[in-house]
């Protein structure tokens, strides 16, 4: 190997690796810019009142988004309960049991579903869960968000199950475990980190969606009881307040954005914590 070629390879190595660092730095700076902007614009509106009071009309000070915060939590809970199991089990099917053609069709369809605009999913959930009963509800919102959670979950579940080395599966089977037991007790736990990432990513994405909720969960200026009434949510509040003419509402919209991020952060932390605890043998 000539010295020139060696030098070229070495400098390419240095340049490319530095570039990756630059890229990561760029992305992280954008992130901090966004967070900083939210804090700067919304931080002032954050107060105890924001978390505990119902929205007040413009012109009156105080007022908060307590019902929207609880509403977003309820909707995310519904989305998780309805969508995550479907995504997880479908992913298990694709990785462990699937026949070639059927798996291809399912994967393709999942990608298609992922590309449907959120407003179209909202319209679909509207015809599915609102029209038949003639009223908006938290459940309908959960259906819309649940549908959106599925594709990302399926993709990551399948991907990370496949990444588990075959040797682990074989070892379990050699010990006499049936296939499903292998999957449940060996493969899934091994892939759990990646799968959880996928699930949290999916939930994070739907946490910020507005369009699908406009026609399903609708929105509510008051507290919503149970699961069958229209319910407020942070993204819809942000949308309503951001387009209004009043500065006070604009600031509240930024504050709500900050709270939404905070909620997602906490859920991420919580889920990872629980996972770590349940893995600790």
């Amino acid at each position: 190997m000539s010295a020139l070629r060696m030098a070229w390879r070495k400098s390419l190595n240095f340049v490319m690796l530095t570039l990756t660092g630059v890229a990561a730095l760029a992305v992280v700076s954008v992130l901090f810019l966004i967070l900083g902007y939210l804090v700067w614009n919304g931080g002032a509106s954050l107060s105890w009142k924001f978390f505990t009071q119902l929205p007040k009309p413009v012109g009156e000070s105080g007022g908060g988004m307590a019902n929207a915060i609880v509403g977003s939590l309820k909707l995310l809970f519904l989305a998780a309960v309805m969508g995550l199991p479907v995504g997880l089990l479908a992913g298990v099917y694709l990785a462990e049991f699937g026949g070639k053609t059927f798996s291809f069709i399912v994967r393709y369809t999942t990608d298609l579903l992922n590309g449907v605009p959120s407003i179209v999913i909202g319209i679909f959930a509207y015809s599915l869960a609102v029209l038949p009963v003639r009223h908006f509800s938290a459940l309908a919102g959960g259906v819309a968000l649940g549908i959106m959670v599925i594709p990302i979950t399926v993709r990551s579940t399948e991907e990370f199950l496949r990444a588990v080395p075959g040797s682990m599966r074989e070892a379990a089977m050699a010990l006499g475990a049936s296939k499903w037991k292998t999957i449940a007790t060996v493969v899934l736990p091994a892939a759990s980190g990646g799968i959880l990432t996928g699930m949290l990513l999916a939930l994070a994405r739907v946490a910020g969606e507005t369009a699908p909720l406009l026609f399903t969960a609708f929105g509510n200026r008051f507290w919503s009881q149970g699961w069958g009434q229209p319910i407020a949510s942070l993204p819809v509040m942000i949308y309503t307040y951001a387009v209004a003419p009043y500065d006070d509402w604009h600031r509240q919209a930024w504050a709500a954005g900050l709270v939404l991020l905070g909620l997602v952060l906490l859920s991420n932390l919580g889920a990872r914590f629980i996972l770590a605890r349940s893995k600790a043998v």
């Binding site: 990561a24 760029a26 479908a90 049991f97 992922n114 679909f124 990444a163 049936s178 954005g257 939404l260």
Partner: protein
């Protein structure tokens, strides 16, 4: 030895035939297969119902316009003349710009986070990047208006026009008055929105590449970069492609953020600096106010068109993967 052999021998399951099936059934495997199959089928069911709804609710405009819907450039709610051409163009252009920006940036960041950064820092940064996925699109839109748009108008726009604008062929992409809103601005905002998906999933997949692969490459004298680019990344290829699919899907269907920074002009222009519109943005903008059955039907037909585009793009992308299958990937 013989006692152990006897114990093991009677636990060896029958290999084929009806006894094998019964054995698997008792073990629960068939049930597990059935259950997971059902849930996979649920996805097919949901999607079929969705397409069915879109098909049924767009029958008015399909009957009225037929195939001409695809190439009609006019969108006129007042005179009931609707065509999807400008929006198809806008959707494709903005998504292309978003991917061209996001994939290199995202992949490079993922490589850095998985290969070079210390694990703890990588975990924290990755955690924070996941948060970006939760930022509501409305806020991305507002940030686009407050940050990207002025940037376009004062710095980026004129820069591009003056430098690349004069280069033959590519230059036509960067001509014209700087409106500050348009395809490029929307593409930039979209890129920021989809980059977290690429980074998050790619990083995780790169982390699953077995150490032996890297070590083998290095043992053969490869530099760090060569080992990463020629061994590790190809190994993780399907996962990375998966993340790009996720990103593409999000870019195609994004509504709120795009609609705030694209200029909303139903026109087809060559320049990336010109205003345009996308399918998702048009549906979102006009659906709630649409009165009139043909109007509504046309909007829903737009949704159907987007579905078709996604279908074709996914197909093309998959063909691309198969065509570039060179080996070096993880055994399927």
């Amino acid at each position: 030895m013989s006692a152990a052999a006897t114990t093991l021998a009677h636990e060896v399951p029958p290999q084929a035939g009806p006894r094998a099936f019964l054995h698997r059934l008792r073990q629960g495997d068939e049930i597990a297969h059935l259950i997971t199959l059902t849930f996979a089928a649920v996805i097919l069911l949901l999607t079929s119902m969705l397409v069915y709804e879109l098909w049924i609710n767009s029958h008015l405009s399909r009957a009225q316009f037929g195939w001409a819907f695809f190439w009609t450039k006019v969108w006129d709610p007042n005179f009931d003349n609707f065509g999807a051409a400008p929006f198809i163009y806008g959707t494709l252009v903005t998504s292309a710009v978003a991917l061209v920006l996001a994939v290199p940036l995202g992949l490079a960041s993922a490589i850095f986070l998985s290969e070079l950064a210390p694990r703890k820092i990588s975990d924290i940064i990755s955690f924070l990047i996941d948060l970006l996925a939760a930022v509501p699109s409305v806020i991305y839109g507002l940030l686009g208006i407050f940050i990207v748009v002025p940037l376009m108008r004062t710095t980026l726009g004129p820069l591009l026009i003056n430098t690349v604008g004069d280069v033959p062929y590519i230059g036509v992409l960067f001509r014209g008055p700087t409106y500050c809103v348009g395809f490029l601005t929307a593409g930039i905002v979209l890129a920021i929105m989809v980059v977290p998906f690429i980074i998050s999933v790619s990083r995780e997949v790169l982390l699953t590449v077995p150490r032996e692969q890297r070590e083998a490459a290095m043992a053969l004298g490869a530099t760090r970069w060569e080992s990463t680019w020629q061994v590790v990344v190809p190994w993780a290829r399907t996962g990375i492609m998966g993340s790009v699919f996720l990103a593409l899907a999000r870019a195609l269907g994004e509504t709120m953020a795009v609609t705030m920074v694209i200029g909303n002009a139903a026109a087809i222009k060559a320049s990336l600096l010109a205003p345009g519109d996308t399918i998702a943005s048009t549906i979102a903008n006009q659906f709630t106010e649409a009165t009139g059955d043909l109007y509504l039907s046309s909007l829903i037909e737009l949704g159907l068109v987007l579905f078709l585009i996604t279908f074709i793009l996914n197909g093309l992308a998959r063909i691309l993967i198969v065509a570039t299958e060179r080996g070096g990937g993880r055994p399927a």
